[in-house]
Symmetry: C2
């Protein structure tokens, strides 16, 4: 499995701190819910120069919680727990951890008031169970919860920190960003700003990216620490400076050099998605986009509608399986579908153009193909995994054939990424003044 | 956090076995990749009457792997590891675990042959690194990998089992189902068939479901064990029989009673998705479906295209933000949009009907609204979270207004579930011969 190298380890200027994350809940162990807290908290800490030492998921049972917490508290400097702060009798995490730490739980009138007010908003009165959530550690603090009734809890003891967070993501996430990160930063347990400058690239592999950027890094010697992280069609290059040999401004200058060198392989600084970068370029150029897809079934449209303010640039999308739909909604001539088949370079071009014209868009992306067994069977020259992508732009229209291995969801995701990257490159070139451009690979027509 | 109760604990007939899952990889701890192995393996074991005792995610470092494996091996009966079997020098899990177990790694000619043949398929020759994957434990077995080069490894020692699986999901998942589950079942470490009969319901809450079914369960006393699991608009009720007081056929008869009692709140036995159930009903009734969506951005269409053979029943989908797109693609009259606004009961009905007519579909679902800040701003009577859903059916068209709290992705997901459930109920009633039906809640027009 690809390793992102040392990107998550703190710069040497930061004393190495061991973080453990305890995620509680039978629903995680039974595979009913994905462990999104690991993904979120892991990424947030990573940006501040810390890699979690361990994540342990255990059941809601008091005995299991006690055993695991004792072990983690002995091993780590910071223990973060998620879940188990609810109002029901199952939710005993608070009591168990207080017992391990030899602390009493005390009633917190301010929290009671917040809970009562929150219930009043919905015309309800809290029960005794709900008011269980108003207890805090005797020698500890409360992290107010703006989006739910269970506050977070914060304890400093034995030179260590315990931070207990509520389970619902819409409560946990703002609490973590607004309250937990600043507290940890104030105690020097993570960096007060992002630990690195991230250069995000798209459409080139990790080793080629490294080769391209190496001359820049060579000039700076051991003043810089470089780490690469590959994920979902993108490779991130994280540049930091051990012992703060370089200032943040100097690191940013190096990153700008890298971006310049990468040209259109450069996606963005930081963490933006490919769709977000496309959206920004479309808005900047005052252009509209339409999409049309078969095998990706709505995921391409969804990538753009995830971006805030999509109405400003997104003219619309069509998901069509049948030839009838292509003819009716997109004015694709029947003879073309009969001659070439719907899954063909010509078919992809026809639906892209149809979408652009019917929706009054300047650009249109089309993705068609065979993503997986059953949904749309591959045949002959086009086995499962074959995808055609077409791009309609103000100055022309192209299509290319791609082929992906793997299960349906992997094929869909890779095809969406390839389509987004193609559009992004065209928009980048248009922005740079290269009015007429040719696709880099697999160009047809 | 809601607990699924005792559903994952083994029936008393099965000796309690402790399973631990070790998921390896910095990319998990840095939040770059979701821990899908926990979700998959946890669910697979849960179906066979086993709940994971613990899942631990650690880095790829040899020292961390050794420490964690020693601890887990001492505590558990079965230890499953994922990842760390790749060809690079980072991938040292095999060596570390062999050292802890006091075993040698030996070269396995059959695995070498499989690796070489796999490379030959792609016209390549394996390097020395790749052939590192041909080593197995001296006293252990190989689990062949049909979808990649790294085989799984299986060791029985000290009355315990170690099972090492490759990281890529398309390699791990079939290996787990086809090889690991049968081996564990043969050793009595999990049940040879599903541990329970699952009744899946949709559109009613956990407590109402429990109230409805309680009379059935009361008649069977302690012969049955019942557990409820709520997730994403559905509630599963798992019925098993402690000490096998009831045969599987008897449990199935009880489940059939429950299904009968639930009527249209019954979704399916087992694990099918709402879209799959709708698809089956559409195929059975030889009907076609179209969808049109704004705020859900393609997710509704995608739910149907995830079902195998979608072309047979899915006429197509439209994702439209602008009024222009609604007029151009769906023949919605401009005066209607001006009079009522696009986000209105009337607007939802108009786009549903337009989609059905233009795509030649018998049924059409429309979802429109304000899912989150930015993308489509809510205003006045329709704040963010307001969604209108419309259903066009052969015998009429209806729309209802819904309101969801939470962040954009939660609103989108809940709106998609509500739309799917509405269609499912209509199809269920059509199937049952109730030719004319009325929506249950929030009916308009």
């Amino acid at each position: 499995m690809a390793s992102p190298g040392t990107s998550g380890t703190p710069p040497a200027s930061l004393h190495p701190i061991r973080y453990e994350l305890l995620t509680l809940g039978d629903e995680l162990l039974l595979g009913l819910t994905a462990n999104g807290h690991l993904t979120f908290i892991g990424a947030q800490l990573g940006r501040r120069g810390v890699m979690l030492g361990r994540n342990v998921t255990i059941t809601d049972e008091a005995e299991a919680i006690e055993r695991q917490f004792r072990e983690s508290w002995a091993a780590a400097d910071v223990v973060i727990t998620t879940g188990g702060l609810g109002p029901t009798c199952d939710d005993r995490t608070r009591e168990v951890l207080a017992a391990v730490l030899g602390q009493k739980l005390v009633f917190d009138p301010a929290t009671e008031k917040a809970i009562t007010e929150r219930f009043a908003q919905f015309g309800r009165v809290p029960t005794a169970n709900n008011l269980k959530q108003a207890y805090r550690f005797e020698r500890g603090e409360v992290l107010p919860n703006a989006n739910g009734t269970a506050p977070g809890l914060w304890v400093e003891q034995d030179g260590k920190i315990l931070c207990m967070l509520p389970g619902p993501p819409n409560e946990l996430q703002p609490m973590f960003i607004e309250q937990v990160i600043p507290r940890l930063a104030a105690r020097g347990l993570l960096l007060g700003r992002e630990a690195y400058v991230q250069i995000r690239s798209a459409g080139i592999g990790e080793s080629l990216l490294e080769t391209k950027l190496q001359p820049v890094f060579d000039r700076h010697g051991d003043a810089l620490s470089i780490a690469f992280c590959a994920h979902q069609g993108q490779v991130d290059c994280r540049v930091s400076s051990p012992q703060e040999k370089y200032s943040h401004a100097q690191i940013e200058a190096v990153a700008a050099e890298c971006a310049q060198l990468l040209g259109e392989d450069f996606l963005c600084y930081g963490h933006d998605s490919m769709a977000k970068v496309c959206a920004d370029l479309l808005r900047l150029q005052d252009k509209k986009l339409a999409v049309v897809e078969t095998a990706t079934g709505g995921l391409l449209a969804n990538a753009f509608t995830e971006v805030g303010g999509a109405c400003k640039f997104f003219a619309g999308g069509v998901v069509c399986c049948s030839n009838d739909a292509k003819m009716e909604l997109l004015d694709v001539p029947e003879c073309l579908l009969l001659q070439h088949g719907a899954v063909s370079a010509e078919g992809a071009v026809a639906i892209a153009t149809g979408a652009a014209e019917r929706l009054g868009a300047d650009y249109a992306l089309a993705v068609t193909g065979f993503a997986g067994a059953g949904a749309m069977e591959g045949a002959g020259a086009n086995p499962v995994g074959t995808m055609f992508i077409a791009l309609h732009a103000p100055h022309g229209v192209w299509s290319k054939k791609l082929s992906y291995p793997g299960p349906r969801q992997a094929v869909k995701s890779r095809a969406v990424n390839a389509a987004l990257d193609w559009l992004r490159r065209e928009l980048y070139r248009a922005q740079s003044g290269a009015a007429i451009s040719l696709p880099r690979t697999g160009a047809m027509q």
